[in-house]
Point group: C2
Chain length 219, copies 2
């Protein structure tokens, strides 16, 4: 990698800031401490990031992008797969492995806790995290619908449902019950199997044959 | 209501503490301020609640119990219903109306933000909130399975899936995107309809006839 000196400094500051924010929280972090950990001067931090607020948004964006980039890479395998069920399970496992890392759970807690005072943070997290994943899933489900591998009338709704069916139970447990009550690999495996089964019951084209929808039920 | 003087004081302190914690956060709240808002002395607060930490746990427990009691009352309508689909929709709407109140969203943010430092808080929230709801739903789904209105092999898994299918998308949006991006009533209605449709595709006994499960697929 041919990083310029300025890029290297920027990266060192971001790494240091991630560590310090995650261990001290937003209010408990000072730019002095980040400067000390990054071994740069305070003016260097201000030059690169403006202020502490902006630095924190960059830390959040950086960590969330890292996760989303990896999730999106996994989603891209979905469109051409010959085994939708297996591919959905693999994607779900991958997604959970990424978001359940202690650093990511910790950041999620921090962002949610600061959102009332600091709305830009929650928006950054949502748009670059769940927002991006749901958009990519939605496109993939459209493609699968187009070639008849799924039957999805509303791809955004289906993507939203899949995302939270997979994510919510383990992520909420990790966020609220802490690291000592993290799901085991076997529990996650069963959870993913159940989530994919429910999703495919609704969207697999085979199931569709038997669904007795009553068009007179609701307009 | 024949509340004793001590009960009335306790309630006044809890109401004041809820207001102050929600507007200032945990670290930003002092017992002095709660005492001033409740119009009681500081020793009275210590006598009733021990310390600030314990007071905050009581505030969280009180708010979460209020929501859960109402959700559980709605769940109780499920077992004997003759229209499972309509009842699930009604339950989901009721649950969302309860958890999306700004005060509850605000408390959820606060609890998640404090869980790293203060694990008891997250556990209290989880066990009295989602934990209790999922347990009640699980029992209701068992009952519906027993009388053939649903086909649910694993009631806890089904309850967990239903809970998060309904809750996650709107709650995450409210928590991360803030009050100005709250779902409209029409959006919530469509969301609930979709969640119930997906759930019933997996668990309605009619659907079950067509499900071609391959027992050789996975042990």
């Amino acid at each position: 990698m041919d990083e310029s000196r300025s890029d290297r400094k920027r990266r060192a500051i971001l790494d240091a800031a991630t560590t310090v924010f995650l261990s001290n929280g937003y209010l408990g972090t000072t730019v002095d401490e980040v400067a000390a950990v990054a071994a740069v001067s305070k003016p260097t931090i201000y030059k690169h990031f403006g202020d502490k607020r902006r630095l924190f948004v960059e830390v959040v964006a950086g960590t969330v992008d890292e996760v989303s980039d990896a999730v999106l890479a996994a989603v891209s395998g979905l469109v051409d797969t010959r085994n939708v069920e297996a591919e959905l399970r693999e994607l779900a496992q991958r997604q959970l492995a990424l978001v359940l890392r202690p650093r990511v759970i910790q950041l999620r807690r921090l962002v949610i806790g600061e959102t009332s005072r600091f709305p830009e943070l929650g928006r950054t997290f949502y748009e670059r995290g769940p927002g991006r994943t749901i958009a990519a899933l939605s496109e993939a489900f459209s493609g699968l619908d187009a070639r008849g591998a799924l039957r999805v009338a509303d791809p955004v709704a289906a993507a939203t449902q899949f995302n939270w069916l997979v994510m919510s139970a383990p992520v909420n447990q990790a966020m609220l019950l802490g690291d000592d009550r993290m799901s085991t690999a076997a529990e996650l495996g069963r959870h993913v199997e159940g989530a994919v089964r429910v999703f495919l019951a609704a969207y697999s084209p085979r199931e569709d044959l038997s669904r007795d929808q009553d068009p007179g039920d609701k307009p």
